[in-house]
C-alpha cells in the first residue's frame, strides 16, 4: 500500500494526573515521507518510547494529531475504531529484541500476521518467503527461532514488521544488540525496504554507529522535537 507517510502535529501525552502527572510529550511535530528512514534520538526519559507507543496505537495521546498515509487516525481523540486492526494492517513493528514466537518456525513467524488478517496460509507463506529471501534468511525458513543467530533473528523480525507492507514501520532500538557491521546491515535493509515498498520508517536509537546514516534526524528533548539534517552517509 502506498501511503503519504507519517505526519504528527502538536502531539501531547501526559501520564497520570494531579500532582503526579508527567508530561512526557509536550508538542511533537514530525513528518516522514514514504520511502524515507528517519532517526529519532534523545536522552533517556525524553519521550521516545512514548511517541512510538502513541504512533503504534497502544497508548492514547492526550492531544494533537496523527496522520497515517491519508487517514487522520488521531485528532484530539482516536478517529479509527479498531486499533487492533490498525496495528495489524497499517503498522509494522521492529523491536530491540526480536521477540519471535518460539513455537513457530521462521516462515510462520513472518506469515502469522497475514494469517491473522485472514489470508490463506499458502499466500501468507509465499509472501513471507519472498521477504525472507530479500533479507537473506530464506535458507533458514524452516528453522525454529532458537536455532538462529542474533542477527538472523533480527532480520526475521524485520521481515515480520514488513510482511503486511505497512505504510509505516516503527523500530525501537533495532540495532542495540548488534555489532557495528550487523547494525549497519540492518539499517541498509530498512532503507532498501523503505524504498522498495514506499514505507515511512522511524528508527529510535541511541546507537552512535548508525546515527550518521540518517538523512534526517529528529532530536527529542523534554518532550519536544527538533529537526536536524543528518549526514545521510553510506546509502546514496
Amino acid at each position: 500500500m502506498v501511503g503519504k507517510g507519517i505526519r504528527i502535529e502538536g502531539l501531547k501525552k501526559r501520564y497520570g494526573n494531579g500532582d503526579t502527572a508527567v508530561d512526557a510529550l509536550k508538542g511533537i511535530d514530525m513528518q516522514v515521507a514514504p520511502g524515507e528512514v528517519v532517526g529519532l534520538v534523545g536522552p533517556s526519559g525524553s519521550g521516545k518510547s512514548t511517541l512510538l507507543k502513541c504512533l503504534g496505537a497502544v497508548i492514547e495521546p492526550t492531544a494533537g494529531r496523527m496522520i497515517l498515509g491519508d487517514e487522520v487516525i488521531y485528532d484530539d481523540g482516536w478517529k479509527v475504531t479498531d486499533l487492533r486492526a490498525l496495528r495489524r494492517d497499517r503498522i509494522g513493528f521492529v523491536f530491540q529484541a526480536p521477540y519471535l514466537i518460539p513455537f513457530l518456525d521462521v516462515t510462520d513467524n513472518v506469515a502469522l500476521l497475514l494469517m491473522l488478517a485472514g489470508r490463506p496460509n499458502g499466500e501468507a507463506r509465499s509472501r513471507a518467503m519472498e521477504l525472507l529471501e530479500a533479507l537473506d534468511v530464506g535458507h533458514r525458513a524452516k528453522a525454529m527461532p532458537s536455532q538462529l543467530s542474533g542477527g538472523e533473528q533480527q532480520r526475521v523480525s524485520i521481515a515480520r514488521g514488513l510482511v503486511n507492507r505497512p505504510p509505516v514501520i516503527l523500530a525501537d532500538e533495532p540495532t542495540a544488540p548488534l555489532d557495528s557491521e550487523r547494525a549497519l546491515a540492518v539499517i541498509r535493509i530498512l532503507n532498501d525496504m523503505a524504498r522498495k515498498y514506499d514505507t515511512a520508517i522511524i528508527v529510535v536509537t541511541h546507537d552512535e554507529k548508525i546515527i550518521p546514516t540518517f538523512k534526517r534526524i529528529y532530536h527529542i528533548r523534554d518532550g519536544v522535537t527538533y529537526e536536524e539534517a543528518g549526514e545521510g552517509r553510506a546509502f546514496d
Partner: protein, 400 residues
C-alpha cells in the same frame, strides 16, 4: 490460519506429555473410585439376582438380612409355603467370617442354604466347576474369588468342609466372596459356643432346681438340647408363582406372619441406599478431592506455561492478534492437556482395575461423564491464565 495451540504443544510436547501422564494417573484414580462404587452396586444387584428370590422375609422392624441382623424361626418357611402365590420358600443364613484353608484364612460370607436341590432360592445359580451340595453336612461351594480349589478342606468353626463346587461373581455387597454350606451346619456355626462355655452352661442348667427336677426324667436332657441348638435363620427367600404380584403376596405374608417382607426393588434400595451409602459418600469425597487436585494441577501448569510466554503474548497483541485468539490458544492447550490426561486415565484405570481387591466396574457412561467433566474442568482451570494473558498490555512489547 494455523493452530497456535497445536504448534505450541508440539514445540513443548515433553512438558505436555509428562504433565498429561501425571494428570492421567489422577484421572485414572478418579475413574477407579467411580468404578469401585459401580462395582459395589453391581455386586449388590448380582447378589440379589443370584439369590433367585422374589421376596425376602425377615424379622419385623429390621432391614435384614444384609443391612441389619434379622432372625426368624427356621420353621417359618413352612407356613409361608402355604400362602397363595408362593412357589418356593427356603431358609437362608448369612455370616461374615474368616475361613481357614491350610495356612491362610479368607474373609468370606458363609451362606447356609437348604439342601433341597438346585433351583432352591439361595443356591448359587451356576457353577464353573464341580457340583452343587448334595449331602446335608460338611460340603461347600465356594466363589472362585476365594482362591479355593475343588477338594480343598475348609475349616469353619470347629468343622472341616470339602469344596465340591466353584461358582463365580457371588460376592457380598462389601466384596467378600461367598461360601455356601448346608443350612444345618451354618446354623450351628452361627450359634456355636466353645467347649468350655458348653460345659459351664450344662453345669449351670443341671444346678438349676427348676430345670433339673428329680421327679421329671428327661427334662434336663430336653432343656440342654434346646439350649445347644439354633432354631433360627436370618431370612426366608421366597419365589413367587407365575402371575402373582409381589405386593399382594408380600402383604399377606407380613399380615399373617407378622414378619417384614421386602421385594427385589426394596431390597436393592436398602443395599444401595443404606448398606453401601457410607462407602459411597466416602468414595464421593475422594473423587471430589482428586478432582480438585486435578483442576489445581491443570490451572497451575497452564498458568505457568502462559506466564512463560507473556512477552510473546504482548507481541501477538501488538501485531493485532484478537483477544479471542489468545484465549483460544490457552484454552485449547488446557483441553489438550485434559484429553491426554483422560486417555491416560482411562487406560490406566482399565489396566489396573483387575488388580484391585474389590470389583471395579468401569461403565462407558462414566467414561463419557468423565470426559465431559475433564473438558469442563480444564476450561475452568484455564480461566486464571486467560485473564492474566488478556491483562497483558501490548505496550509492554515496545518496552520503556
Amino acid at each position: 490460519m494455523i493452530s497456535l495451540a497445536g504448534r505450541d504443544i508440539l514445540h513443548a510436547w515433553g512438558k505436555f506429555v509428562f504433565t498429561g501422564i501425571g494428570l492421567g494417573l489422577l484421572i485414572g484414580a478418579t475413574f477407579t473410585m467411580a468404578g469401585v462404587y459401580r462395582g459395589m452396586v453391581d455386586d449388590a444387584k448380582v447378589m440379589l439376582d443370584n439369590s433367585g428370590a422374589d421376596l425376602w422375609v425377615v424379622q419385623q422392624d429390621t432391614l435384614g438380612p444384609y443391612a441389619e441382623p434379622s432372625s426368624i424361626y427356621d420353621d417359618t418357611y413352612r407356613s409361608i409355603l402355604s400362602i397363595s402365590g408362593v412357589a418356593r420358600a427356603a431358609n437362608v443364613t448369612y455370616l461374615t467370617m474368616q475361613v481357614r484353608q491350610g495356612e491362610r484364612d479368607v474373609r468370606v460370607l458363609v451362606t447356609g442354604v437348604t439342601a433341597d436341590g438346585p433351583g432352591t432360592p439361595g443356591w448359587p445359580p451356576y457353577l464353573v466347576a464341580g457340583r452343587q451340595i448334595t449331602r446335608s453336612h460338611y460340603e461347600a461351594v465356594a466363589d472362585i474369588a476365594t482362591g479355593f480349589k475343588l477338594g480343598d478342606r475348609l475349616q469353619i468353626r470347629r468343622n472341616q468342609y470339602t469344596v465340591v463346587g466353584l461358582t463365580r461373581r457371588m460376592v457380598s455387597s462389601s466384596g467378600d466372596p461367598m461360601v455356601f454350606i448346608p443350612l444345618k451346619d451354618a446354623q450351628e456355626a452361627q450359634f456355636l459356643k466353645d467347649n468350655d462355655a458348653i460345659v459351664r452352661s450344662r453345669a449351670r442348667t443341671s444346678q438349676n432346681p427348676a430345670l433339673n427336677r428329680p421327679g421329671v426324667p428327661g427334662l434336663l436332657d430336653a432343656v440342654i438340647t434346646s439350649q445347644s441348638t439354633n432354631p433360627y435363620v436370618n431370612a426366608v427367600l421366597v419365589q413367587l408363582e407365575a402371575g402373582h404380584v409381589s405386593e399382594d403376596v408380600a402383604g399377606s405374608i407380613s399380615r399373617w406372619k407378622r414378619l417384614k417382607v421386602y421385594d427385589r426393588a426394596q431390597m436393592e434400595n436398602i443395599l444401595v441406599g443404606k448398606l453401601i451409602a457410607t462407602s459411597a459418600r466416602q468414595i464421593g469425597m475422594f473423587m471430589m478431592i482428586l478432582t480438585i487436585v486435578s483442576a489445581a494441577i491443570v490451572a497451575f501448569i497452564i498458568y505457568t506455561l502462559t506466564m512463560g510466554k507473556i512477552r510473546e503474548i504482548a507481541v501477538l497483541k501488538l501485531i493485532g492478534t484478537r483477544n479471542r485468539t489468545i484465549a483460544a490458544l490457552i484454552m485449547q492447550q488446557a483441553i489438550a492437556l485434559g484429553l491426554i490426561g483422560f486417555v491416560v486415565g482411562k487406560i490406566t484405570a482399565t489396566l489396573w482395575g483387575p488388580f484391585f481387591p474389590k470389583h471395579v466396574l468401569l461403565l462407558p457412561l462414566d467414561a463419557v461423564i468423565g470426559l465431559v467433566a475433564v473438558v469442563v474442568i480444564c476450561i475452568l482451570s484455564s480461566i486464571i491464565a486467560i485473564r492474566a494473558a488478556l491483562k497483558v498490555d501490548p505496550a509492554e512489547a515496545i518496552g520503556g
